[in-house]
Symmetry: C2
Subunit: 381 residues, 2 copies
């Protein structure tokens, strides 16, 4: 297998367009130059509609986690309560971060099952300074009810922090409409940039309630906002300049397609994966209800009975298609296909067709074609 | 001025070789794949001789500051004392970080003046858990006495943390020989990679004295070491994969040249800048003594009497050569030329020649040529 001719269908990092890869090969520039400031400002201007927000946006150098870390470290003091809702790996990460800085009040649900909003409200009304949740739980392929939790947060005057890392730009995600005080994404998801940048949108309300000093020196939203607001926008510490070149190019590509058009395309692509799964007798992993939906950026499916992770994902990889497995407690039990950013119809059909080859080889389907046909009816309707 | 035909002579980010820029344009891969692990392991194997250490090395996604942050946050509890020595901007940053997590004991010297080792020892012997210093103070062009401070740290059983960000790979820097428990560099300095990665070498002694939990969730050396030691090396959070491609390529280039040969070349290049300055009647900024030397990675010079920063640096920039100014309290009073990584003799001669044009225009020299001639005698001897 040639690693440079492999189809990457994991829920991030995702495939990066050649235009964006080429942008990264531009010669280095000073991060304290007007040239860099112009790039940063251009990125922030485009990130606002991407986030559906009028709030200020900052770009931090680090993985998406540094954005989650900054949100909590900038707001939660030693004795402050933060309700952390989880139904998968990344929700649990918010609990870990909350415990690092203050008093985390975990509200846990089984991985892949919807939130019980009454339980959430019972935790929040007990004097929480903030509520943190993951909108799109990458580990289980489920979108959680951010709008509804946002209403609970407002009602009880708590700050609302949302990890939108694998969501923003792919799923419906309305930062301002849903009252999100701190929203976070990562460059390697729907933005379709290589990993290494976290983007954070911060409301005035959040800023008014910041601690006098962030608990973390590096993950400090106040410092990032201050630098970004200089007459020439800057970052407090040396930024990953090449990744900003990539971010700017990728945002221009998203703007050319249209932010809403890209979300609609992503929704259609995820729908095509779901109907293909159904046609192939594969069950979707998450449980959904009126507020919690199948994710449009990552589809999590149960491993077919009797087929090992190694046979399925290993076999697909040998044929040049990389999909993700389950993490932690559902390792080996599910597999996941990402549909974000510059994913194409052809990419999806190649993925489904490769999956069919494995299923036929393992005796799970009699002949190939049903999945590809079902998917193509959605993709080309 | 074409920004893509500009010579970047600042002390980081530095010029990146085309081979390294091209490495970044490789298609994205999964950060949880064997392919990524192999790259990370290869980088760590080459980083050990680069640091002159047998200690474990981890690569964090972030600016060099995240490495400084991780060093302090992983070791300093609320009541722990950390002596932070400063004679420039980055030393002061250690004081800020120390204050964020514990009890910083600043030992301050005027910017650009050598440490008084007796004052350092007096602070350390008063029960400090750690001593932190900057080896190469980028803001003033001075290398500080790491070997001597290391001896003081050992004598009083304190951990020794050294910011080697603009030093390692350029200046003489002996992590193990000097007893450095935590040594830090950044990708955009002597490694000649774009910014966005911090590299940290950690001694067993430091690890034994880590806090049970880092004070920072993201800047957590324990978590990074744990992931790096897995049978397939990983990072705890999604790494900036493209920058790892670049780091691997740049390390291979450094190995091909030879780590010692590169340091010798860098020393020669800095010497050529210093003799050119002397030939042009320009004074070097830092004060040196038997333990504190002119930096080989950044030469800081006093702004010639009556010449403004705008005339000098602005004029050079208009002619396609970017050099740095002074920061904070010495803004406008000095200018700085970086000599790191892939800087060539031609780059230096173009820089000196451009400086001469400005000086002649400003009436500071009668005719051009003396600086270039002096520099070339060092470069081509």
């Amino acid at each position: 297998m040639d690693i440079e001719d492999t189809l990457l269908m994991i829920p991030g990092p995702v495939k990066v367009a050649p235009r964006v890869l080429r942008a990264m090969s531009r010669p280095m520039i000073s991060h304290r130059s007007g040239d860099f400031s112009a790039i940063y400002s251009d990125c922030c201007a485009l990130l606002k509609p991407f986030f559906e927000t009028a709030n200020d946006v900052v770009v931090m150098t680090g993985s998406g986690t540094v954005g989650m870390d900054a949100a909590v470290a900038s707001t939660i003091g030693h004795d402050d309560k933060i309700v952390t809702i989880s139904n998968g790996k990344f929700g649990e990460r918010f609990t870990e971060i909350g415990e690092r800085y203050g008093r985390a009040i975990p509200v846990k649900f089984d991985w892949g099952t919807p939130f019980d909003l009454d339980k959430v409200e019972a935790a929040v009304e007990d004097g929480a300074k903030a509520v943190a949740m993951v909108h799109n739980e990458t580990s289980v392929g489920l979108t959680n009810p951010a709008k509804e939790v946002g209403e609970i947060a407002r009602k009880h005057d708590a700050l609302f922090i949302v990890d939108g890392i694998s969501s923003i730009g792919g799923n419906d995600f309305q930062t301002d409409e849903w009252g999100i005080d701190i929203a976070i994404t990562g460059s390697q998801k729907a933005l379709a940039v290589p990993p290494g940048l976290a983007v954070v949108a911060v409301s005035k309300r959040a800023e008014e309630r910041f601690l006098s000093q962030s608990r973390s020196y590096y993950a400090d939203l106040r410092a990032h906002l201050k630098s970004a607001r200089k007459s020439q926008a800057q970052t407090p510490f040396t930024p990953a300049v090449s990744l900003f070149f990539a971010l700017q190019e990728a945002l221009h590509m998203a703007e050319e397609e249209g932010f809403a058009a890209r979300r609609a395309r992503t929704a259609q692509q995820a729908e095509s994966v779901r109907v293909a799964a159904k046609a192939l007798g594969i069950e979707l992993f998450p449980k959904v209800n009126q507020h919690s939906h199948y994710s449009n950026t990552v589809t999590a499916m149960k491993m077919p009975q009797g087929v090992s992770d190694d046979k399925l994902r290993g076999g697909m990889k040998k044929r040049g298609v990389v999909v993700s497995g389950g993490q932690d407690l559902i390792k080996g039990k599910i597999f996941r296909i990402g549909t974000m950013g510059m994913c194409s119809s052809g990419d999806i059909l190649r993925t489904i067709q490769t999956l069919e080859l494995i299923l036929a080889q393992e005796g799970k389907i009699a002949s190939c074609g049903a999945g590809v046909e079902a998917a193509s009816r959605v993709l080309y309707k």
